[in-house]
């Protein structure tokens, strides 16, 4: 059996973390291929339904990352995102999603090393947790119900 390769999606803001990940590149720091980035203007833009959608579409883990507190390009988008995350985190348990599958962090445009660290540590965490299958199980069950 081949080793489990986690699928991880990263929601990052354009100004800090996207630029930070660019710096990881310009500094030629290597990290795992499993994480792929989707660019948002600001973490405040991230509708957390997209996180659930991601799990539904087969993600095993998610990274959400933006500017450090007080550094938001738009003043306060990251504070809204943080508040949303605190609310959302509490609901994950109920949904049967291990909270460790979502890594919420701040990476500035100057933190190329930190981005690589976050990617690698998230990949390791998700490797240990194994594939996310709960959704498929539920979806499969619902389908069966519907067919009966």
């Amino acid at each position: 059996m081949t080793e489990f390769e986690p699928k991880i999606i990263a929601f990052v803001c354009n100004w800090c973390t996207y630029a930070g990940a660019d710096l990881t590149g310009t500094s030629r720091i290597k990290y795992a291929q499993n994480v792929k980035i989707i660019r948002f203007p600001c973490t405040g833009r991230i509708d957390f339904m997209l996180l659930l959608k991601s799990f539904g579409e087969g993600a095993d883990g998610i990274i959400v990352s933006g500017c450090h507190p007080n550094d938001c390009h738009y003043t306060s988008g990251n504070f809204h995102a943080r508040r949303r995350w605190i609310m959302f985190r509490g609901l994950l348990d109920m949904l049967g999603i291990d909270v460790r599958r979502i890594q919420y962090s701040w990476v500035s445009a100057a933190e190329g090393f930190k981005w690589a660290d976050i990617v690698n540590s998230t990949v390791n965490t998700i490797r240990e947790l194994g594939p996310y299958t709960e959704y498929e199980k539920v979806a499969g069950y619902l389908e069966k119900e519907a067919n009966q």
Partner: protein, 667 residues
């Protein structure tokens, strides 16, 4: 029907060395809706762009994805190319195959697969892109320059001479910055004041420059072309219009024992003071913290002696609102207090001083009138030890970077000392001599050869006092590899240049990026050294990184020219990536329910109300409406809206969802 063109760049070998670019182009070609797909060595080059333009025309493409470097690098390039071929520029997206893929992974199947995934994701996004049109906004042709050191002075003069209004804000009572404290300047040894003071006067007299000293930025709102700045004018406790600068108050003030900031604590000043004789403006301020009247309620001597009745004890801070189109940050640097290095004995022994203090001792306007005298007993030192890199290049206790100016000013200090005290002996402990710059190496050579300064390669391990002498223990790692001990009369530490203590707070007020040392970050390390990541805000001088005067002045003129370019047009086009509230057909007109959650979330107060009326003119509904002039496109409102009525162009709910699905699903 989508007809997307995909263009995969090799970036020389930057991408193609680890990503199989031909396979990426081939895989993209098979995606639904992709009508054209190819790869090429340099997409951003002229032939590369021509290739894109031709493909658009020949295949009637209605969307383009370029798989190359970061969009932060070349998005404008490719969008412009599309526009030139008649395609709306916002129908072009970039997949970041270099910074986010080829540069961070080794060559492997997984790397190529990731590149394919990224391209597919953007293809799915671009299918949902809509043609957008830039927003035209008027430009306020007034610049705000923050910081009145040589950087701020140069930038202000350049912008003002091009015919635009400048507001120069300086936190101290006078402009001039560190340069006004220097004695003579490397590499020519001309007197700092003599070259600076005329510039300061020019600023004060320029009809286009409004100078605000003893003032600081309180708040900055708005965006490029149209910022609104709030400035706090700290109370000076004098009426500047009445004061004629006679200086009677400063001579009569009984509170005389306040260490002078300008003289780095080596001299004293009064509570009502002008920081130095050539100050601009040459009018005093009262330092409330040290004034007897403000502290104890008694004195008012200055008020009694002032011939024009200009003293105002009841003056309060004033907040001034200004409309400006561009901002130049020129807040300079600070020097690290060497108290974190107990081995050097700074703070413990009076005759261990910093380089900046040495400047004051060597300056003709300084506390010793330019004679090099020890702070402890006023004697002329016979032997001085200079310690370079006292804090720089020291990741453990200081800062890891090189402060860049210290090698040069230490050579200068030793030279000035030798010129003033002919029989004196000077020693410099150094790690390397970094003298890259026009005539810099020659300058250091002169110090060694003509002025017989002794350079010792090695570090100082301890400084202690014995019989009125400072014993400096170090090691010579170059010639003898033996310990050295020097009995010195004075020790001068080239302490590290660091960011201003207020830099971080200022960056946060203005929403510009700063690095881990709190120096402001330029938008691109090579190609955009004077821009910040925030459009319309520019950088000049040592606030970006330690710099000497020639470099500071060039950068300041660079920043000024960017402002002048911005002001050369009456209108500015802005990206239309902003929020809009949907418009469904009558009789609903919008799915917005009027909860105004979005308005409470918006950091820019960009959301207002719109009343929807029926044919009889009766209001049937109140919905949200975005002011395109104020919206910055953060999208915070979008995530808040419960009825999905507000969306952001270019990052719409539909687009983001399509990206998620595309990224996670591959056959």
């Amino acid at each position: 029907m989508s007809k997307i063109g995909v263009f995969i760049c090799h970036c020389g070998e930057n991408i193609s060395a680890t990503v199989d670019v031909a396979r990426v182009a081939e895989a993209a070609g098979q995606l639904e809706g992709v009508a054209f797909s190819t790869d090429y060595k340099y997409m951003c080059s002229d032939p590369g762009q021509t290739m894109i333009k031709q493909a658009i025309k020949e295949n009637g493409l209605n969307g383009v994805v370029v798989g190359s470097c970061s969009p932060r690098m070349h998005e404008p390039t490719f969008r412009k190319a599309c526009q030139e071929a008649g395609l709306n520029p916002f129908m072009c997206e970039m997949a970041n195959l270099r910074e986010h893929c080829s540069w961070v992974h080794d060559k492997s199947e997984a790397t190529t697969q990731k590149a394919i995934d990224l391209v597919r994701t953007l293809v799915e996004k671009v299918k949902l892109n809509k043609p957008l049109f830039s927003i035209q906004v008027p430009v306020t042709k007034t610049a705000l320059v923050i910081g009145g050191g040589i950087a701020g002075i140069q930038a202000s003069l350049d912008i003002a001479s091009a015919g635009h209004q400048v507001i120069l804000v300086e936190k101290d009572p006078s402009i001039g910055g560190h340069m006004s404290q220097l004695s003579e300047t490397f590499p020519t040894l001309d007197c700092s004041q003599c070259i600076l003071t005329p510039r300061m006067v020019e600023v004060a007299q320029h009809p286009n420059i409004k100078l605000m000293t003893y003032a600081e930025l309180e708040k900055l709102e708005g965006s490029i072309g149209n910022f609104k700045a709030t400035i706090r004018k700290k109370a000076k406790s004098i009426d500047e219009d009445l004061c004629n600068g006679c200086g009677t108050c400063t001579t009569k003030c009984p509170t005389k024992k306040i260490p002078s900031e300008f003289n780095t604590g080596l001299g004293m000043r009064t509570a009502i003071y002008v920081p130095f004789p050539q100050a601009v403006p040459n009018k005093p301020v009262i330092d409330k913290e040290n004034c007897s009247y403000y502290q104890k309620g008694k004195c008012k001597v200055c008020e009694k002696v002032c011939p024009t009745g200009a003293i105002r004890f009841d003056q309060e801070d004033e907040l001034v609102e200004l409309e400006v189109g561009a901002v130049v940050i020129a807040t300079g640097f600070d020097i690290m207090q060497p108290s974190g290095f107990p081995e050097y004995g700074y703070g413990k022994y009076k005759d261990v001083i910093t380089g900046l203090q040495f400047e004051r001792l060597a300056s003709a306007s300084g506390p010793t009138l330019g004679e090099i005298r020890r702070p402890s007993d006023g004697k002329i030192p016979e032997k001085i030890v200079f310690v370079a890199c006292a804090g720089s290049r020291d990741p453990a206790k200081g800062v890891p970077y090189c402060s860049k100016i210290c090698c040069m000013y230490t050579a200068k200090h030793a030279m000035l000392y030798q010129h003033k005290v002919h029989h004196g002996k000077s020693y410099i402990f150094y790690m390397d001599i970094r003298a890259a710059g026009k005539n810099y190496e020659e300058f250091v050579r002169r110090a060694i050869v003509e002025d017989e300064v002794n350079y010792i390669r090695g570090r100082v391990s301890k400084v202690y006092e014995e019989n009125g002498k400072l014993i400096v223990k170090g090691v010579d790692t170059l010639l003898s590899a033996k310990p050295v001990e020097i009995e010195a009369d004075m020790v001068v530490l080239a302490s590290a240049a660091v960011a201003n203590p207020g830099a971080e707070a200022l960056a946060q007020k203005m929403h510009v990026s700063y690095d881990s040392y709190n120096f402001f970050s330029e938008a691109h390390p090579k190609l955009k050294p004077v821009e910040t990541n925030t459009a319309g805000i520019f950088l000049a001088g040592a606030c970006q990184a330690p710099k000497d005067i020639p470099e500071t002045v060039s950068q300041a003129s660079g920043a000024a020219s960017k402002v002048i370019i911005l002001f050369s047009k009456d209108e500015l086009s802005r990206d239309p990536l902003i929020a809009v509230v949907n418009r469904s057909p009558a009789p609903v007109f919008s799915t917005c329910v009027g909860c105004f959650m979005c308005a409470s979330a918006c950091p820019y107060q960009a959301i207002g109300e719109e009343l929807i009326t029926n044919r009889q003119g009766k209001v049937i509904k109140k919905v949200a409406k975005v002011n395109p002039g104020l919206c910055q496109g953060c999208g915070t409102c979008v995530a808040f809206c419960r009825s999905k009525s507000i969306d952001i162009q270019g990052y719409s709910n539909e687009q983001m969802c399509a990206e998620v699905i595309a990224l996670l699903n591959h056959e």
